[in-house]
Amino acid sequence: MVPRLRFETISKSFPGVNALADVSFDVAAGEIHGLLGENGAGKSTLLRILSGVFRPTSGTVFVDGQALILKRPVDARSVGVAMIHQELQQVPHLSVAQNMFLGHPLTRLGGLFVSRREQESRAAQALSLIDRTIDPSAPISSLKVAQRQIVEIGRALLDKAKVIAMDEPTSSLTPSEFDRLAEVIASLSASGVSIIYVSHKMDEVFRICQRASVMRDGKLVGMVDLKSASEKDVIAMMVGRELMQEEHNSFVTDTVKLEAKNLSSATKIRDVSFTLHKGEVLGIAGLVGSGRTELLRLLAGADRLSDGSIAIDGKAVRFASPRDAIAAGIGLVPEERKREGIIPLRPVSTNMALASLSSFSSGGMINTGKLRAAAQDLLKRVNLRPFQLDRPIRLFSGGNQQKAIIARWLAAKSQILLFDEPTRGIDVGAKSEIYHLIEDLAREGHSIIVVSSELPEVIRLSDRVLVMREGSIAADIPRDQLSESAIVAHAIPGANPGATVARTASSA
């Protein structure tokens, strides 16, 4: 029998990265198929190929035996493939029906007028299959997230979708809303629609899906029958790569550099406490959305504390803006370099000096000689390539931009460096350079926090790892107990934490 959906030897490479290598699997009609993997394993890339955002470098997707050739994302809908994104793509002020017909409204009089009544009755018809309580004429902004998700599914049904891919659909749902979604998915499956279900939440995948494909590093590492497999087996498949061989060096001292007590914020941080020592590299692991970036932004003064206190060298500090944090010796190397790191058109040297321009100035004028000397020195130290100091930073590779941002904090003489995904979008060579740089900084007595979704990276770098979950610290794992499975067990809601790992979150 021809499978509903077949991925045949799909590969996708971007300059310098192989995002997907030779991925092949089938999904039967009416099957609910889980897609599992860590961040960066290639799940999103695969979904983007399915929905026409990317075209595969090689390989073909088949729907009902027909090769899928998508020029634009909108083409996917016409061949019966619908995508339901984590961030719902809806226009808040328009009605449910208008959103469902967005982009291809029903018209009358030769396209002159939109026939709203017709749209609403057809929308109601599609929604009646899954949820009768939604009023098609209500503005979408008046609906709860769960209902809006149902609307998206209804939209897929309008398009007569044969395959619906859901990317982390439950990330903002309550348990009872999840139950409702699970029912809807089951009824879709019964009517022959195939579902691809991407989620981090192990218990959900086990409950909803029949089979799951597990991806790692852009490859399909296995297909599991969820009736017979255990969560532990699946986690092992997800993370089971070899650890990085390089040895970890520790320069931790007993001196407490920073102490955070009961930090909370409007940006989902809940009662986080920890200490950071001089010379320590503290890793923070957790799923995307667990509050890691938000914690760093609090420490860097970019977001406000709603409760709790931070002390540096035993003295309480309060940050009204990043300026205050920088003055207190904290520097943030942000996750999204393009958005939060670089001033694209400015030279790499002034990008480096941006946080410490006053120290390069006297009488209101920049001392160009002093700035140049510092740029020569610090950018050489981080091994900037090419070593052209007046070249606009946007012309450098991601790794070299990152080095310049690190040099920014060296120039500002920051004692505490916060790294958010330090090697995201960086090629392998520059990656190990940045690891060594972080190690050197620790050796010199800097205190460092590294947030990373790449577990081998966290394990390679950290003296100790905090695992975050839903805005709080779920575990504090010392170096000698560090393992990928220990981290994953604490990071994933619904998974049972391993008995060997000390839980010190709130009881410490």
Binding site: R339, I342, P344, L345, R346, T350, L354, R372, F387
Partner: protein, 325 residues
């Protein structure tokens, strides 16, 4: 093997002290082409006297455009420069008529412009309103204040002492040209040599990154609007010095010429990019064109047409040479 000698590759020039950017060279070529066309069409266009005339006629717009350039670089826009100039003009003129000493009147007039700019900047930086909307609002508000203050009447009879200051000559060069040249040099130094200039480019180039890097965002934005307001006031002093009267409706549509000069000179309305030299050249391009067309007795309607076309052509060339993105 000569490896030992060739190994010492000479290092690439790490810094250049003064860089005449490619974009400025483009603006200069544009100016030269326009000058050449008029030189061929209009006898006496390139005479020393007419060239000085062009500079003098461009000076008011150049003065405004310098402030506008800094605001645009910071990622904003200042539509209120004309009415700011009007308030400053009528207040300065009234003070002069009531016998206020000239330096004090000038100081007050500039101060009024600074206050107008500060209000714009504070609304943008602290209240968080969009620059276009803020200055659209103050465009009307400031104009209304100037009209209410004077009852709609011009303030006539500005004393000659003041007029000779802003409408005189120094070594054969009109004082407005000298004033604007000094302002331009100051603006160039500000942009290229001071932390404030670097902050302006950082805030306009990537506000989020600038914030994370500790750049004082609010202070930087306010500085740009304050300078723009102050320079609008200075431009109004030049104008009332020339006319001998201050009308509450003066400065109508000044903002458009100023934006045009900045854009022709390479300022990006997306922020983060702009050139002082380019803006000056842009203002001279607009001035030279009007001067040449006037000398050719071309109707004002066609002058407006030419101004519009030159802006569009300049932007298209800019786009084509810069490539996509």
């Amino acid at each position: 093997m000569t490896s030992s000698s060739t190994a010492s590759v000479k290092p690439a020039p790490v810094f250049r002290r003064f860089s005449f950017s490619l974009r400025d060279a483009g603006t200069l070529i544009g100016l030269i082409i326009i000058m050449a066309v008029f030189a061929a069409l209009v006898p006496g266009f390139v005479s020393e006297r007419n060239l000085i005339n062009i500079l003098q006629q461009s000076s008011i717009n150049a003065c405004l455009a310098l402030g506008m350039t800094l605001v645009i670089i910071s990622g904003g826009i200042d539509l209120s420069v004309g009415p700011t100039a009007a308030i400053s003009a009528v207040i300065t003129a009234t003070l002069l008529l009531t016998g206020t000493p000239i330096p004090l009147a000038i100081f007050t007039g500039l101060g009024v412009g600074v206050v107008c700019g500060f209000i714009n900047g504070a609304l943008v930086a602290y209240v968080g309103l969009q620059p276009f909307i803020v200055t659209l609002g103050t465009l009307s508000t400031y104009r209304a204040i100037a009209l209410i203050y004077t009852g709609g009447n011009p303030v006539l009879g500005i004393p000659t002492g003041f007029r000779s200051l802003f409408n005189g000559n120094l070594f054969g060069i009109p004082t407005p040209v000298i004033i604007v040249a000094v302002v331009a040099i100051a603006a160039w130094i500000l942009l290229k040599k001071t932390p404030i200039g670097e902050y302006l480019m950082a805030v306009g180039g990537n506000e989020e990154a600038a914030y994370v890097a500790g750049v004082p965002i609010a202070r930087t934005k306010i500085t740009a609007y304050v300078i723009s307001g102050g320079l609008a006031a200075l431009a109004s002093l030049i104008l009332i010095g020339r006319l001998g009267a201050a009308e509450p409706i003066l400065g109508n549509l000044w903002e458009l010429d100023a934006i045009a000069a900045a854009a022709i000179g390479g300022a990006s309305l997306m922020g983060g990019k702009g050139s002082i030299l380019g803006t000056i050249l842009g203002a001279i391009i607009l001035g030279a064109m009007r001067n040449g067309l006037t000398l050719m007795n071309v109707q004002a309607f066609y002058q407006l047409l030419a101004t519009g076309l030159i802006i569009l052509v300049a932007m298209m060339i800019d786009r084509a040479t810069r490539g996509r993105g």
